[in-house]
């Protein structure tokens, strides 16, 4: 392959968002040595992300979506839309981290740099047009998040979380590499679009080894999006990691996992849709079931939200199972909505953490409506949204994925989703009940900051606005994916 010929500076343009993020991360690392006020570093992180957003905005109408870096990098609407999710995710994470990391005495510059690197990894995953690039992005994201999970070095739980996540992550990476090598062995390429052509021209869609490769890829991506039974790490890691990182991980890597799952299954193995749908159906049912049922018994809100995020992965999967463009649209739509409501809920959890008070137990929410009516009202909105009660955005998200399941003829799957959605109401609304029906045990002091207010305002407004005007987001997703 001749890298020299035809390579010019103009080819870097499609990569400007990623380059911006990486450079921001590196600058943050360097500044950490000289800048004492870590908040300044955080603000710089946000500024870097905003620059990257601007770069992506400029590239949204970029015509050459494919032939970038010898067809290794895709810059289509699909990738760009996922990047928007990652940007908002990282900005919200930084906003809710300011005061929290100080309280946890883990306010260090690396934290923000690692957030940048992890986000870059996700962006590369979303843009990957080649399995090797996909793997690189995934590892960049994964390695950064392993460290982030263990950032509270003095806490055993945090260390444990990092170690577990690392080992199991390595295990899942092995599956990914197996899947990639089997695919390469059968088709002789790692390019996602070429695979699709070769699968049909070599007529290996019914080949058992090909099936095995797809299974391995699903397992590896399923690990990232915490599908049952590859979700075992999630509760422990979510509980042990710093809460802001839990929030970050419950959205970012999950969305990135869905991005690559959607691209690989729809683009590379579109001909094998019946086969992978039939694997995903039981996984999705199991995921919804285990997530919702075990969440019932949790007393720690971080663990509860961990299982809830497992359950939501099951719902999001419904759109992918449908195997249609509309199905994919409904899933991506759900992801965006899920980000806002989940981030909002975690923001409230973080607010409860104050000097000398963990605020992670469900019991701590008792009587919150009396001591902090505003925070309780916001939590109520997020819990309603996570349950899927109109007119919040959560309802819209669930409505469309379930509708797609019905349109695809999976009636029983739709019914299962509704049933588990009802079950999930129990543990979400229990938080609401604690807040509004019980008397406060002790006065909870909230840790407030302007950036936290911003994050809460943004998430609340989005949860409500997208619930009332869902077509705005839906049309954006549709135009991005169909482009």
């Amino acid at each position: 392959m001749d890298f020299g010929a035809g390579f010019s500076l103009i080819d870097i343009r499609p990569l400007t968002p990623e380059i911006t993020m990486i450079c921001t991360g590196l600058i943050l690392l360097l500044l950490d040595l000289v800048v004492k006020k870590k908040e300044a570093i955080a603000v710089l992180g946000i500024i870097g992300t905003i620059v990257a957003i601007f770069a992506t905005y400029r590239l949204y109408a970029f015509n050459e979506t494919r032939s970038i870096f010898l067809e290794m990098f895709a810059l289509d609407g699909y990738a760009n839309f996922f990047k928007i999710i990652f940007y908002i995710n990282v900005i919200l994470t930084i906003c809710i981290s300011f005061r929290y990391m100080k309280i946890e005495k883990a306010s260090i510059g690396e934290y923000y740099a690692l957030l940048m690197f992890a986000t870059t990894g996700m962006m590369i995953m979303a843009s990957a047009a080649d399995l090797i690039v996909l793997y690189l992005g995934l590892e960049l994201m994964a390695l950064s998040t392993y460290i982030l999970a263990g950032l509270m070095r003095k806490q055993r739980k945090s260390n444990e979380a990092a170690l577990k996540y690392f080992f199991l992550g390595a295990f899942s990476s092995a599956f990914l590499l197996y899947g990639i090598s089997l695919t390469f062995g059968l088709t002789g390429t790692t390019n996602i679009q070429d695979i699709a052509g070769l699968v049909s021209s070599l007529s290996i869609a019914d080949n058992a080894i090909m099936h095995l490769a797809v299974v391995f890829l699903i397992v590896a991506f399923g690990f990232k999006i915490a599908l049952v039974p590859f979700h075992m790490w999630a509760p422990d890691v979510y509980e042990g990691a710093p809460t802001s990182i839990t929030a970050f991980m419950s959205v970012g890597p999950k969305a990135a996992g869905f991005a690559v799952l959607g691209r690989v299954l729809f683009e590379a193995f579109g001909d094998m849709q019946i086969m992978w749908s039939s694997i995903l159906v039981p996984l999705s049912i199991l995921t919804m079931a285990v997530g919702s049922i075990i969440a019932l018994a949790q007393t720690n809100i971080k663990r509860m939200l961990a299982y809830s995020s497992v359950a939501h992965a099951g719902y999001i999967l419904l759109g992918i199972i449908a195997g249609t463009t509309d199905g994919l649209i409904s899933s991506v739509n759900y992801l965006m909505i899920y980000m806002f409501m989940n981030m909002g809920a975690f923001a409230i959890v973080i607010m409860l953490r104050s000097e000398g008070f963990q605020g992670e137990e469900l019991e701590d929410y008792k009587g919150l409506a009396k001591t902090n009516p505003a925070a309780a009202a916001l939590m109520l909105v997020f819990m309603f949204s996570l349950t899927g009660i109109p007119p919040t955005a959560g309802f819209i998200g669930k409505f469309y994925v379930i509708m797609e399941a019905i349109n695809a003829g999976d009636m029983y799957l739709a019914i299962t989703a509704v049933v588990f959605s009802v079950i999930s109401a129990f543990f979400y609304l229990r938080v609401v009940m604690y807040m509004y029906m019980n008397d406060p045990k002790e006065t909870v002091i909230l840790t407030k900051s302007p950036s936290m207010t911003f994050a809460l305002a943004l998430t609340t407004v989005m949860v409500l606005v997208l619930g009332v005007f869902p077509s705005v987001l839906l049309n954006l997703v549709r135009s991005s994916i169909i482009s």
Binding site: L163, K164, F167, L168, F171, S172, F175, A208, H211, L212, V215, F216, I218, V219, F223, V228, P229, F230, M232, W233, P235, D236, M275, S278, I279, P282, L283, I293, I294, L296, A297, A374, P391, I396, F399, Y400, M403, N407, V468, F469, P470, S471
Partner: protein
């Protein structure tokens, strides 16, 4: 398009007040809320003139959800019916908002009060302006929620919090039926849009549906389900119990929500669905009978109550009964006409009583709503007294005030409605007699005689400030003149302007009678109005020992009425307590068996497969890896053996 602002302005006021009220707006909340509702009023007037010149507005603002054949749109229909409702809701809201500035002055939750009240106005306007059933249902539930917030506004008072809960729960029963009705409409017509549903209403004729093995007339079923909602919201028998308790809320709330607007939503809804109700005689008769019986039933209770607001509350229930009576005999426009006049004189009664309560409160009266502890307030509050007299003359149907025209129209239409109609007319006329009696009783106990409150309070009783009395005067104006849009043709040719205006939506009532009959009906209602007045005058002004004597003479009846027919007790014994006990048990059982079952049982279940898997979430890394590997093997096995 600009008419979308009619509900939007109060909504903006709500958002501003709820977000910034606590820290920034505080006591200036009315500077946002009052201009907002007044703006809505101005727009409503403009919409009304638009409709008057023949433009019916029906626009879809946007689609909320579109998926295949399923469309949910947000859109508004401003026709003759909703135009009148818009005028009623926005004009009364504006006056009551102004009144609240004085009434709620200094309350700790001042901004919260205006926020909720604005949210209520928004919801009510959405309910009225909706052009499809789902949006109406949204408004319907939203006004219920606001009512709950506002009844329990003083939530630290246990009785207020309980009353709020009661209103909410009782309404659940009715709304459940209403929700089913809406679903059934969607299943039948495949749409929730008014125009499409009402356009196909004729196809309901003769259709039946299989319900538990019985063939039920579809139209009847739909209408009765819808009517369930109306019974709950408009406090008709047997779901009337929440309204009197709702008086725990601040008086402006009672006036706006529980007299003038929200409780009339049921009447509005039935009138709106008249193409459906016309398809079912059974449903129509049910509406008429429930209305007629409620009218007289609530009036009897009002005879002996001592709480000034409760008397007016029962009076409201009774007047709502009149409206349903009118709807049930097919005189939809008469029902809406009464809704419109009632809004003014009933709001006036409530706000007047609020003025009295306000004055007594400032005089440190310890039982400020008990009429037995009032008396002689006429000299201290001359203005309140005068508007009270006007409202009473209006509600009792004294000729040429607003209430006379609308009540007379209802009774006349009932009279023409066959045998059932005659019977209902009789009920209505007796109820009118009772109305006159309890209304004048209220006046005499409150304003005449000598002061019966505590020592040293009387000199502290003063007329309320301007901000309270000016809205009263506006409402008094309405209570006198609002009826002149519906003068019976007997007096003025084409005098029934409102009936003709509403005819495109509500149709013309059937039945014609002679002039002699009409004079008879009118004479009878004037006669009972005067008779009730005279009896009250004798009992409470001339021979003040008479009530005592009569009370002891008919002691069982008095006790029965005083205790509101023991219906609350009946519900408590037969429904509330058993449900509470059962739910306690269910929650306990759920906790012990389901939750603990999951905590303990699920690991045990898996333990059956492998002893090492005693608890899945062991925390041991190796186990987690094992589960993953096991999962992969299962999938591969599934691939090989199942597929």
């Amino acid at each position: 398009m600009k008419y979308a602002l009619i509900p939007l302005l109060p909504f903006i006021a709500f958002v501003l007040n709820i977000v910034f009220g606590r820290n920034y707006i505080k006591d200036r909340a009315h500077w946002i809320a009052v201009p907002a509702v007044f703006g809505s009023f101005v727009l409503a007037v403009s919409a009304f003139t638009d409709v008057l010149s023949g433009n019916v507005i029906n626009i879809n603002l946007y689609s909320w959800i579109t998926s295949g054949d399923f469309h949910v749109t947000v859109g508004f229909l401003i026709d003759q019916l909703s135009a009148i409702m818009l005028i009623v809701v926005t004009s009364i809201s504006t006056l009551i908002f102004i009144y609240s500035i004085g009434y709620m002055h200094g309350d700790g939750g001042y901004y919260r009060f205006f926020a909720y009240l604005s949210l209520f106005v928004f919801s009510m306007l959405v309910l009225v302006m909706a052009n499809n059933f789902l949006l109406m249902y949204f408004g319907w539930e939203a006004v219920g929620l606001c009512s709950y917030f506002l009844i329990g506004f003083w939530f630290h008072k246990k009785s207020a919090a309980d009353a709020g809960k009661k209103a909410f729960i009782v309404n659940r029963f009715g709304d459940f039926g209403f929700g089913l009705g809406v679903i059934l409409i969607f299943l039948t017509f495949g749409s929730l849009d008014y125009m499409q549903v009402f356009g196909q209403a004729g196809s309901l004729l003769g259709q039946t549906i299989d319900l538990f093995g019985y063939d039920v007339d579809l139209a009847t079923l739909i209408c009765l389900l819808l009517f369930c909602g109306a019974v709950g919201k408009s406090a008709q028998i047997p779901l009337h119990v929440w309204l009197p308790d709702a008086m725990e809320g601040p008086t402006p709330v009672s006036a706006l929500i529980h007299a003038a607007t929200m409780v009339t939503a049921g009447v509005f809804m039935v009138a709106r669905c008249n193409p459906l109700f016309n398809m079912s005689e059974i449903a129509m008769n049910t509406v008429a009978i429930v209305g007629g019986v409620t009218a007289i039933f609530a009036a009897t209770i009002a005879l002996v109550q001592n709480d000034i607001k409760r008397v007016i509350a029962y009076s409201t229930v009774s007047q709502l009964g009149y409206m349903f009576l009118a709807l049930g005999v097919g005189a939809y426009s008469a029902g809406i006409f009464h809704l419109y006049t009632h809004a003014y004189f009933k709001a006036l009664l409530f706000l007047g009583s609020g003025s009295v309560i306000h004055a007594l409160h400032h005089a440190k009266h310890d039982d400020e709503q008990n009429m037995q502890k009032m008396g002689g307030l006429r000299k201290h509050m001359p203005l309140t007294y005068r508007v009270f007299i006007i409202a009473t003359l209006s509600i009792t149907g004294i000729p040429f005030l607003a209430g006379f025209f609308s009540k007379d129209e209802i009774l006349w239409r009932a009279f023409l409605g066959g045998e059932l109609g005659r019977f209902l007319w009789l009920l209505g006329t007796i109820a009118a007699l009772l109305t006159a009696f309890y209304s004048w009783r209220l006046i005499y106990l409150t304003f005449h005689g000598s002061y019966r409150g505590g020592e040293g309070q009387e000199q502290h009783i003063h007329e309320s400030p301007k901000v309270i009395t000016v809205p009263l005067m506006f409402l008094a104006f309405g209570a006198i003149f609002a009826g002149y849009v519906g003068i019976p043709p007997l007096f003025v040719e084409h005098g029934d302007k409102i009936g003709e205006f509403l005819a495109p939506v509500l149709g013309h009532p059937e039945g014609h009678g002679t002039h002699v009959q009409e004079f008879f009906v009118m004479g009878a209602s004037i006669f009972v109005a005067l008779a009730g007045w005279i009896v009250a005058y004798t009992m409470y002004l001339k021979k003040t020992d008479l009530p005592q004597k009569i009370g002891s003479l008919f002691k069982p009846i008095h006790t029965l009425l005083f205790n509101k027919y023991y219906i609350d007790e009946l519900y408590s014994r037969s429904i509330v307590q058993p449900v509470l006990k059962a739910s306690d048990k269910i929650i306990l059982a759920f906790d012990t068996y389901v939750i603990e079952g999951i905590v303990n049982g699920l690991p045990n279940l898996i333990g059956l497969f492998s002893r090492k898997f005693r608890t899945v979430q062991t925390g041991f890394l190796a186990n987690y890896g094992l589960v993953m590997a096991f999962g992969v093997l299962c999938i591969i096995g599934y691939m090989i053996f199942v597929r």
